[in-house]
Amino acid sequence: MTAPTAAGCAAPDQAAPLPASLDLEKETVITGVVRSDAGETVPGAYVRLLDSTGEFTAEVVTSPAGQFRFFAAPGSWTLRALSRHGNGDTAVTAARGINEVSVTVAA
């Protein structure tokens, strides 16, 4: 049995399906894939979600298929990916529901 205390803060498995309990009427999900400039998906990239002022909000590591996912709020965000293949940024304007974005990294 796990402790009935606060869930931790570590980033969950990025490849897992969205939990069934998730209310997409309320949640703003920003999800997508990190690709190299050759178009290949990049697993193990560090993806950072920055708010409209550039302040760090969250970070996850991409799944074996290069996927990432954030639970944010409607508004303007920047995704910044760091990887051994280089770094890259993508701006996103998110609305409630699922927002799909991809980030390309290059040296």
Binding site: M1, T2, A3, T5, A6, A7, G8, C9, A10, A11, P12, D13, P19, S21, L22, D23, K26, E27, G44, Y46, R48, L49, D51, T53, E55, F56, T57, A58, E59, V60, V61, R69, F70, F71, A72, A73, R80, L82, S83, R84
Partner: protein, 282 residues
């Protein structure tokens, strides 16, 4: 305390992987990262199953901590080098814990797992076995741990540093944005707490900023270093990162980490809560 006594670089770590008396310890909330590859010889600690009491909301007591370290083969005179994912949040939490139980030599690997991976340094999957020890912990040093009553008493009188993201501070989000947002507690922050997100203290590769940069960040945010400070976040691990910066890197005294943090404070009945981007009134 200073950078020299509290931190090691990835270069130092790679050179000292086999050094006698040095034990690398990976600390994560989800230890699947360790299982897919870890620094050679490193043992793992699971933030939830190893460091938290399985029943009560509290961390393990002295006896449990002694049993854990003995079982992992960590001795009292070992130099413990902690590292982990999430920009060393859980490693910093474990560092605070090792200090709380009086371990003599403990350091954090600057940049943690992220810097190590981005540098393409070697990770292995070998099973690590260390001979059992008889670890003896000290009585907990509560001078570095804040409880809820300390936080309520600190409103308007001491430095309160909220290290969550600006949206969590203001009450627009209840959890970091990689987690679903449904939570029981109220949103907002402790009145009079200043907002200094933990991330301002770190470079994007997870290493700590320079001492000069760090001093400026907290001075600009209005932290009065002549007063006691309590750092908090949501569950106490991001605030361990800030506790580490203030007490262990910058040498402030009387810095406490409030491990109950927002999941406790935001659920308390009758305490004041401030909303919005300003600290608010006592």
């Amino acid at each position: 305390m200073s950078r020299d006594t509290a931190l090691v670089s990835a270069e130092w770590a790679e050179k000292n992987i086999d050094a006698p008396g040095v034990v690398f310890v990976e600390v994560d909330e989800d230890t699947s990262a360790y299982d897919t590859g870890h620094i050679a010889g490193a043992v793992k600690l699971d933030w939830k199953t190893d460091l938290q009491d399985p029943v009560r909301r509290d961390f393990v007591n002295k006896t449990q901590f002694e049993a854990l370290l003995s079982e992992r083969g960590i001795a009292n005179d070992d130099l413990v080098v902690l590292y982990g994912g999430n920009n060393n949040w859980f490693a910093a939490y474990a560092y605070w814990y090792f200090k709380l139980y009086g371990h003599r030599e403990v350091k954090l690997l600057d940049g943690g797992r992220k810097k190590w991976e981005l540098d393409a340094r070697p990770l292995v999957t070998d099973k690590v076995e260390r001979p059992r020890t008889r670890y003896v912990a000290q009585e907990p040093d509560t001078s570095i741990r804040a409880f809820r009553d300390d936080v309520v008493a600190a409103i308007g009188t001491r430095n309160l540093v909220d290290v969550r993201s600006p949206d969590e501070y203001a009450g627009r989000l209840l959890a970091p944005a990689h987690l679903p947002q449904e939570q029981a507690q109220r949103a907002g922050h402790v009145p009079t707490a200043i907002s200094v997100p933990w991330s301002r203290a770190a470079n994007e590769d997870g290493t700590f900023k320079s001492d000069d940069e760090l001093r400026k960040i907290y001075a600009d945010a209005g932290l009065d270093d002549s007063r006691e400070t309590i750092a908090y976040c949501r569950i106490g691990e991001r605030s361990s990162h800030t506790w580490f910066v203030l007490q262990e890197l910058l040498g402030h005294r009387n810095v406490k980490n409030y491990d109950g943090s927002w999941t406790e404070y935001g659920s308390l009945v009758g305490v004041p809560v401030a909303l919005g981007d300003e600290p608010g009134e006592a």
